[in-house]
């Protein structure tokens, strides 16, 4: 730096006057902005893909309806399913970690930010490709979110839409691998000096487990898409059963762990929210950390239960490993409940979403164990029972975790509080809507309604449950409208400034400004003393102790939280 140049600091580069421009956002290396770009894109897509679901529900409300053609119906449910999984919930799960993990481990930045930004652009490119299918002559992809061959070879689903979908999924998932890798590297190696492994919050641990699964399992989907792409060029390979089954193995080796990628971070979210609004440390921290890692490791060995009905996956092995998952899941649930018992509960909006997550996700999890049992799976496979199970896992489970996180960290990201009254309206509409929509699907499945059916006949007996289900989907849509109104009015009016720590949080992100400085912590917001996974609670207890006795409890009891890495 020459003497004539101004003396710049880290906050000046790029200058603060240009930090708000579109160019600054689109070329940023700030992990928070990269995460917000990803999260914002995913939330917009959530609305778009949700609207597609409304069309699907409208088509199925009454028997013998033809609002859309059968081909378009196939395209709509394929775009809804693959959009929610590849473009909405998975990116939200990973980008939430990208936003929060560096803050929670006291790091000024994420490792390899350009790789993380490349991840966002690849994800966006994949999104464009998938939706570009609607502009092609034969319409969008129509083979379902798992795109089994030989149906998805060019012989049976010709046209560019299916090929665009394959390329889009490949790029979007590659982008998520990039983002997950940078977050994992940051959590493992780029922590602040005093943040040892066992001083990381539960959410950060859940992100580590999530991203380990991404590293281990997601490349398998890239291989599956490459195989499917090969089959688009040379469809004859799928006349061999070997390649069809090989595709299913490659796909499900990715697709079972991706289910956990889509809810593990929200287990962490719920743990943070419950402990914050119970005013106490998460119960069984160490056991929960171990259970998260074991859960993730087991998740890599259960994929074959999706293939029972092919007759080419071991019933014994995959049902056994699937049922083993109950053990770490039980540990986590015990932690949830034990944290609540005896706590000073505050029923804020994020707390309501977190509490609702617990029983609703349990329904999804337990029915998952049911369908991972061969004798039941052979009966209900490819029926609406599977659709109900799947939506209880993702909509009644992960979606509630997403909204818990949204309401909890929105003040941190924007410096503004959301409206509590509108938040409660959103919550109750979503609770009633979700259960009204998806509970009847269990009965539809048991009554024999196959999934992916474009319409049905009056004498099939599916009408009543479908009417109820569609009515529920309207409530979900109303809930989303209320959410949008809440965000718009809060940001437009700016009447409710949040302050740095509106919830009396426990973890490091609440020690910095709202929104945080470009390098997370600065001279006005230094890192506090960190001696456990709840450093801010430690500080509050220390201050209360000093006020009460004039003594510093850290001198006697500060070792209880463990400090080994």
């Amino acid at each position: 730096m020459t003497a004539t140049e101004p003396d710049r600091t880290q906050q000046d580069v790029p200058p603060s006057s240009r930090r708000g421009t579109a160019a600054a956002w689109l070329t940023t290396t700030d992990h928070k902005r990269i995460a917000l770009l990803t999260l914002g894109t995913a939330l917009v897509l959530f609305v778009v893909v949700g609207l597609i679901a409304l069309v699907v529900r409208a088509q199925l409300t009454l028997p013998d309806q033809h609002l859309v053609s059968n081909d378009l119906y196939n395209g709509l449910f394929t775009t809804h399913g693959s959009g929610m999984i590849y473009l909405v919930v998975t990116p939200i799960a990973i980008a939430l970690g990208l936003y929060l993990v560096p803050l929670q481990v006291g790091a000024p930045a994420v490792a390899a930010p350009r790789l993380a930004m490349a991840g966002f652009w690849l994800y966006l490119a994949g999104t464009v490709l998938i939706f570009a299918g609607f502009a092609t002559a034969l319409g969008p992809a129509a083979g379902g979110w798992y795109a089994y061959p030989p149906l998805n070879s060019s012989r049976y689903l010709p046209g560019a839409g299916q090929s665009l979908w394959i390329a889009g999924v490949f790029l979007a998932v590659l982008g998520m691998i990039f983002q997950a890798g940078t977050v994992l590297w940051t959590a493992l190696l780029k922590r602040a000096r005093s943040v040892t492994l066992m001083r990381m919050p539960v959410f950060t641990w859940s992100t580590i487990a999530t991203n380990l699964m991404v590293i281990g399992a997601f490349p398998s989907l890239l291989a599956a898409m490459a195989l499917l792409g090969w089959g688009r060029v040379f469809p004859d390979i799928f006349t061999e059963n070997l390649w069809n089954i090989a595709y299913q193995h490659l796909f499900w080796f990715f697709a079972h762990p991706v289910v956990y990628v889509m809810f593990f971070p929200f287990v962490g979210v719920v743990a943070e929210v419950l402990s914050t609004f119970a005013g106490r440390r998460f119960f069984g921290y160490r056991a929960t950390v171990v259970s998260l890692l074991v859960f993730a490791a087991f998740s890599m060995s259960v994929w074959g239960h999706h293939m029972f009905s092919t007759g080419q996956a071991s019933n014994d092995y995959y049902s056994l490993t699937s049922i083993l998952l109950l053990v770490p899941a039980g540990v986590e649930y015990f932690g949830f409940l034990a944290t609540l018992v005896g706590g000073h509960l505050r029923f804020t909006v994020p707390m309501l979403f977190a509490i609702a997550f617990v029983p609703q996700f349990l329904v999804g999890g337990l029915t998952g164990i049911m369908v991972a049992t061969p004798v039941i799976d052979y009966q209900v496979t490819d029926s609406y029972f599977i659709v109900a199970h799947w939506h209880y896992t993702l909509a009644a489970g992960s979606l509630f975790g997403i909204f818990a996180a949204f309401h909890f960290w929105f003040p941190k990201a924007t410096g503004l509080l959301l409206d509590e009254r509108l938040g409660r309206w959103q919550f109750w509409l979503l609770v009633v809507g979700t259960n009204t929509t998806f509970l009847p699907m269990f009965w539809l499945g048991l009554a024999g309604m196959p999934r992916r059916l474009a319409t049905y006949l009056p004498q099939d007996g599916f009408t009543t449950a479908n009417v109820i289900s569609s009515a529920g989907s309207v409530l979900i849509a109303l809930s989303v409208i209320v959410t949008i109104a809440n965000v718009v009015t809060s940001v437009r009016d700016r009447r409710r400034p949040a302050g740095d720590d509106p919830w009396q949080g426990l973890t490091l992100e609440w020690a910095t400004a709202s929104p945080p400085a470009p390098t997370n912590f600065d001279d006005q917001h230094p890192l506090p003393r960190i001696r456990s996974f709840t450093p801010l609670l430690d500080e509050r207890e220390r201050e209360e102790g000093e006020e009460r006795t004039g003594d510093d409890p850290a001198a006697h009891g500060g070792l209880r939280s463990g400090g080994s890495s």
Binding site: Q10, T27, T28, A109, M117, A125, L171, L174, S194, M300
Partner: protein, 170 residues
Amino acid sequence: MTGPAVKADAPAHIVGLWATLNAALAGAIVLYVEPLFPLPLVLHLVGAALVTIFGVAVLVAGRRGGAGPQLRLPYRSVAALAGATVALLLALTWVFGLWVLALVPYPLLVAVVMVRRERLPVDATTQAGAPGTRSPVPVPVERPLTTPEVCARALEIHHAQQRRGRGEAT
């Protein structure tokens, strides 16, 4: 985190344990899967190997002093956009034909230029906030780190409390 080597290695141990557990689960598949179709076993081992490679990278980075907050960063990421554009064009080439490749050189050129301009200068480590780089200072802390003497004293008090709790002489 620049403490003793064993602390820097610990994250790699976490990853290593995780990969080992996966390899053991993969081994169990052998008991169940037909030997003529070993794909499940291969898949499981490849998945564990990917995580192991990541763990080894963490281990190597930790031992080379790569642990601790990220202190030097590129200040912008235009190359990321250009790189993703190239990937998008390659995907479109596969779908629509080789003519799309005619568009590839432009973003590739942009990527090369931008990567060069986004690189940190060699002497950037000693120039906090040098133009063209973003060099975060170490995260400020409220008070000095606890010294080893204080830790040892605290541990001694803790052990004394434990002995008193057990009714032993202190």
